[in-house]
């Protein structure tokens, strides 16, 4: 069957999109993350009210939100391996590299709006609650932080998807990602360099540091995060092409 390249691409994208949005787990994860985001932002904001700390309460829950996006990414790729769906996929689309890249693209189409909504609602809630105490924040800073937060969550989802494709099972991929992001990194943070995925990503949405010598700029953080994401996706695609499905 001869299909034009462009048409082939849109068909694959349609198929991957269809598989992704019909997974009940995807919607459960997104809804759960949304609820968690509200509860956590409310908690952070009330702490900020007591302590009089100024904003960033809106983005304080990012730490936890990233877990939801990791789950989203891991589910997107690892779900192919429960029950042998992967063999149907590869029979229909025998172009492995293209198929996996397009899957990541379909994931971006879900992750970006979800990440933006969550980050924006957090900041909105915090700024409403802290209206009286917080000094005015420049709109530029808010916009940049929101863009950074959206980008960071999307990159995290992509990283999760690549990890899911590498380990091909939900549990080990999730344990390794969560173990690094939540256990190793916070505990051993002082001994680890700044250019690891979570710390570099932090600078994408964090307000500019008071001490510019010790911190990365927003642009440096973004660049390093893109490199990590691409590295993981490349590794996933290479393994995917080599390995028996």
């Amino acid at each position: 069957m001869n299909i034009q390249a462009g048409r082939k691409f849109t068909r694959i994208l349609g198929a991957e999109w269809g598989k992704l949005v019909t997974l009940p787990a995807v919607w459960l994860i997104l809804a759960g993350t949304f609820v968690a985001q509200w509860v956590l932002t409310a908690a952070y904001t009330s702490v900020a009210l007591q302590e009089g700390a100024i904003l960033s309460a809106g983005l304080a829950s990012m730490r936890y939100l990233q877990a939801g996006f990791m789950m989203l990414g891991v589910t997107a790729t690892a779900s192919e391996y429960t029950g042998g769906q992967i063999r149907t996929t590869l029979t229909a689309l025998p172009w492995r590299g293209l198929q996996l890249s397009v899957k990541h693209l379909a994931l971006v189409m879900i992750a970006v709006p979800a990440a933006f909504l969550m980050a924006a609602s957090g900041v909105l809630y915090a700024s409403l609650m802290l209206r009286d105490t917080a000094v005015g924040l420049e709109p530029d800073l808010i916009a940049a932080s929101l863009a950074g937060a959206t980008g960071y969550l999307t990159f995290t989802a992509l990283l999760g998807a690549a990890a899911g494709a590498i380990w091909r099972r939900t549990t080990p991929a999730l344990v390794i990602l969560l173990g690094y992001y939540f256990i190793v990194s916070p505990l051993a943070g002082a001994y680890l360099p700044d250019y690891l995925p979570d710390t570099a990503g932090y600078y994408m949405y964090a307000p500019p540091s008071a001490d510019p010598h010790n911190a990365l700029t927003r642009m440096q953080g973004t660049g390093i995060s893109i490199l990590w994401t691409l590295l993981f996706i490349t590794a996933a695609i290479l393994l995917y092409r080599k390995r028996d499905a």
Partner: protein
């Protein structure tokens, strides 16, 4: 007894169990080592305020291994095999072999408890030489009561993960929530800043069994009892749901 034996054999033949052992033994030792190195100067100078916690901190953060254990014990039963293997779930086989559902659940819970106690003993056996090696004669003495508290904390955590997974049938959500909650950025610690009720959450109460933190809220015994109550309630809910639920659903 034979049901327990069967559950133990199923547990030890899971591929993920080795990840749980690896995390459960090396993790605590590594955290204890990092903490000892960070605190070494203060301890040698005799000004450290955290001496009694050194070493135990590894046991506080090292519960990841038993969380994975408790989750895997249940979620592995519900994994759907590939279509080549007939789309089956192990749980149907388990319930055919042992027809009392309560017995299956209790045997499984017992197996998880036994393995988590084993895992905690191994972790303690790894932590003690590590602290000795780094701190030498300054290494804190490990009292038996606190070690027993830590072991109970591990077992209760594994059982909470276990009953939580019985309810969700899928490992992802309990794994994520519990792993994050036992980390440095725990939800409970955050909630404790908002309301003192958060001190009655299982992990927050249970940790008082062996960590003498400055913000300890319960006595070790009270903390243990609060956590035990959580475990009992969650197990009871899990048992009722497991009894009544259609397995295929």
């Amino acid at each position: 007894m034979r049901a327990l034996q069967a559950e133990l054999s199923k547990l030890f033949s899971l591929p993920g169990i080795w990840l749980a052992f690896l995390i459960g033994i090396l993790g605590p030792a590594a955290f204890a080592a990092l903490d000892c190195i960070a605190e070494k100067e203060d301890i040698l100078a005799g000004i450290s305020t955290r001496l009694p916690e050194v070493g135990f901190i590894g046991l506080g953060f090292g519960v990841q291994g038993v969380i994975l254990l408790g989750v895997l014990a249940v979620s592995s039963e519900y994994v759907t095999e590939s279509s080549e293997a007939g789309h089956g779930q192990q749980i149907t086989t388990s319930l055919t072999a042992v027809s009392s559902r309560l017995q299956v659940l209790l045997a499984k819970a017992a197996a998880v408890s036994v393995v988590s106690i084993l895992l905690c003993s191994l972790a303690i056996a790894a932590i003690v030489p590590v602290t000795r090696l780094i701190l030498g004669e300054y290494a804190p003495a490990m009292e038996w009561t606190r070690l027993a508290g830590a072991t109970l904390y591990w077992m209760f955590t594994a059982l909470i993960a276990f009953s939580f997974t019985v309810l969700t049938k899928n490992g992802m959500i309990p794994l994520t929530l519990l792993m994050i909650n036992s980390s440095l950025v725990s939800f409970s610690v955050l909630l404790a800043k908002v309301t003192t009720l958060a001190y009655y959450l299982p992990d927050r109460a249970g940790i008082d069994m062996f960590m003498s933190m400055s913000d300890a809220y319960h006595t070790p015994l009270a903390g243990g009892l609060v956590m035990l109550a959580w475990v009992a309630v969650l197990l009871a809910i899990a048992a009722i749901v497991f009894q009544r639920r259609d397995v295929g659903a």
